[in-house]
Amino acid sequence: MLFAVLIPLLIACFIPALSKLKTKIHTGIFVFFVPFFIFIYFASFIGTDFSPVMEQYNWIPSLGINFDLYLDGLSLLFVLLISGIGALVVFYSIYYLDKSEQLGNFYVFLLMFMSAMLGVVLSDNIFVLYTFWELTSISSFLLIGYWHFKERSRYGALKSMLITVFGGLSMLGGFILLYVITGTTSIQEMIQQADIILSSNYLPLILGFILLGAFTKSAQFPFHIWLPDAMEAPTPVSAYLHSATMVKAGLFLVARFSPIFATYEWFFIVVSVIGIITLCWGSYMSVRQTDLKAILAFSTISQLGMIMAMLGFGTPIAIFAAVFHILNHATFKGSLFMVAGIVDHETGTRDIRKLGGLATLMPITATLAIFGTFSMAGVPLPFLNGFYSKEMFFDATLGLGSGGWSQVIPYLAVIGSIFTFVYSMYFFFGTFTGKKQLDQLPKKPHEAPIGMLISPIILVAGVILIGLFPNMVNAPFLQHAATAVNNAVEYNKISFWHGFIPPLFMSLAVVGIGTVLFITRKKWQAVYNFLPGKTSFNHIYNGIISKLDTFSKRITNFYMTGSLKTYMSLILSTVLIISVVYMFLTDGFAFSTNQLAEPSFIEIAVVAVMIIAAIATIYMNHNVAAILVLGVVGFGVAILFVIYRAPDIALTQLVIETVTVALFLLCFYHLPKMRKSTDSLKTKTVNAIISIAFGALITIVAISANSSRWFDSISDYFVENSHKLGGGDNIVNVILVDFRGLDTLFEISVLGIAALAVVGLIKMKKNKEAE
């Protein structure tokens, strides 16, 4: 099984070489065999006596992340869809994509996606599942932007990337919470610990996070907006990713985790309500579209909403119908996308307003389309599989009990289905019947080559076969999938005729009202000017994106002014706020006077002079004067060192002060004259407040630090051992060169670097002038 998951990735490594070497043969021919053999391999598992298979491989055992693969009925359904439709899509793409396209890229992305999707549905480990989940997002991004020279492609790719990755990340958050609560990374073990999860306080958060992941991936309301824009991808991609496989990953996730959450009432409420809203909104919006693929995109959204709603209901019949509809939808939607691709390929346009009357020109395509659309609409005919799952859907909505507002659900289901019927009819009759408008078409339409038709024919054959013999797929296949979801084994004998029961009347109502609405479509179409109107979610998305853009730009411009003064005041005020808050929180203020010495008159006098000099520095209007006055402060410090009996430091301070003043004078000789400050009074006040507050802070910190001594000083050690161990009586010097010699070594290195930097600066300036 591991090999089956990874083989598309392995083959993808060789595709570029193949597409370069064998330019005469279409690369897709080589690729075709990959999904084909995977399909055959997994098809061998089908059977009434199927039981789940588990394979384990170590990946990161220390983190509990293992490459565990688990194949049960649900995974089997999905892997067969992925590999089966994958093979058909690759076959279709051989005829759809010309050899002049960058085929290497296309098939590498497609194989990447296939591998990722197989990984998603087969992984038993949540983190492996997440890894593959993001790989589907990335490969989907690459495929949507395949024609990267088109503006719309890039927009659609970016949009889908942002939305699905947003959901994917939140899903990761949910997974991590699950891992923390259960202590395991395996989904099957989590299902066994469902009661621990259900009694956890984090349950709403987990459910919300995971559902957000599922809803964004499966294009549920209001995250559905990326799917219509993803239609800029080549049609095989739309057929494969955006109808049959990737968008069903969210459904898979919900189904996979529903054994855990099924008994939690919010699971039912959120999933089914969102599903029903998506169903109605998607089908309503679909009728408005004029692009064939956009109709299909909104149709996909609404069908996914329907399946999601059924997964939310959680009753055995609903789960069975959901699983059944996943299969049915994949068959008819895949074929319809291929039909749309053929129409596009043969006429040069997908605009339904320019199309019409193609039935006589493209009879085979029209026949395929009629089966696809009627099955999608759920028309009660015994050879259409869409009808069976739709009737089960109605049945499921009625089975929700009479409690409160769940009675609304059947009505909403019928309304959604009516619009489904309308857009299905619109898709077929708008394209294939009516007036021919050959002068409007870029190409002269004719029937597609047979190779292009084979894939949709196979899919439509699936539609009819399942429609005629629904029980063929039931016991060996769908039962296992339904069992995997809700564990309740209930054998449903699928049959066309159940007698005159409510679901049948609902279906008939859908067809009846749908027909009326379809015929009178022109009359009520004005409603679309009001209902999505300004509240369209694309509008909101674009608004958010551009608002975020300007908002972050404004924030950055607010503090990144380029003025060093601003940065300085920001830094100082931040330090100020953090220190004050922290001192308040830890009760760090202290003021004790019991260790203070009595100040002498000389000390007070020297300090007074220093204070006066410091204040005077601020008011100096000439830079030389400012330096000289500042020098007074420096010499005052030296005197203080003398008073406090620190002869070494006093000496050093004296000499350094002299040298610094001399250096300043040398440097300032080159500088322009000091200008009068042009700051406004407000800035000056703010600066003054910040400086005074900062000075006060440092004073308070110093006093508090001095007032709260927790340990004895280590200086006694130096006093005792300076002569004994260091052989010197000057303790300062012994500390500098012996006890803490490393500091001195690096300090002189700093000096050396500074000197070299001065040389470098001035020499460089000279060189520049010389050039």
Partner: protein, 144 residues
Amino acid sequence: MYKYKTNDLILRTTTSLIAFILLGFAVYLLLAGHNSPGGGFVGGLMTSGAILLMNMAYGFETVKKVLPINFVKLIPIGLAVAAATGAGSFLFKQPFLSHTFGYFHIPIFGEVELATAMLFDIGVYLTVVGVMMTIILTIANDKD
């Protein structure tokens, strides 16, 4: 900086005396550092002060002739001496920068204490002289 030449007779005469005293004092500070105030750092600063004074009085060209030292080179030399003193302790299987000292009898001076820390201080001294003179001379000679 000096656009016209003046006859600084008094300055030059006193400088020749003071510079000598300063240099001597600097050497004293360096050597006495271990037992009384002083050390390589102050000694170095004092030396640069003396040389700077000579520069002021006699002009940069003259001093260059008298003291043909490339001060930039003093920086790596000083750093190397300091680092080598530290690394020397490896020869005796001691940690980096372990110092030792002893008392020796030297003919003229009598009983004298010699410490390896003094070598380190000499490294500091050389570096400081090199750094100060490099910075001042570079900036002062940058006449544009």
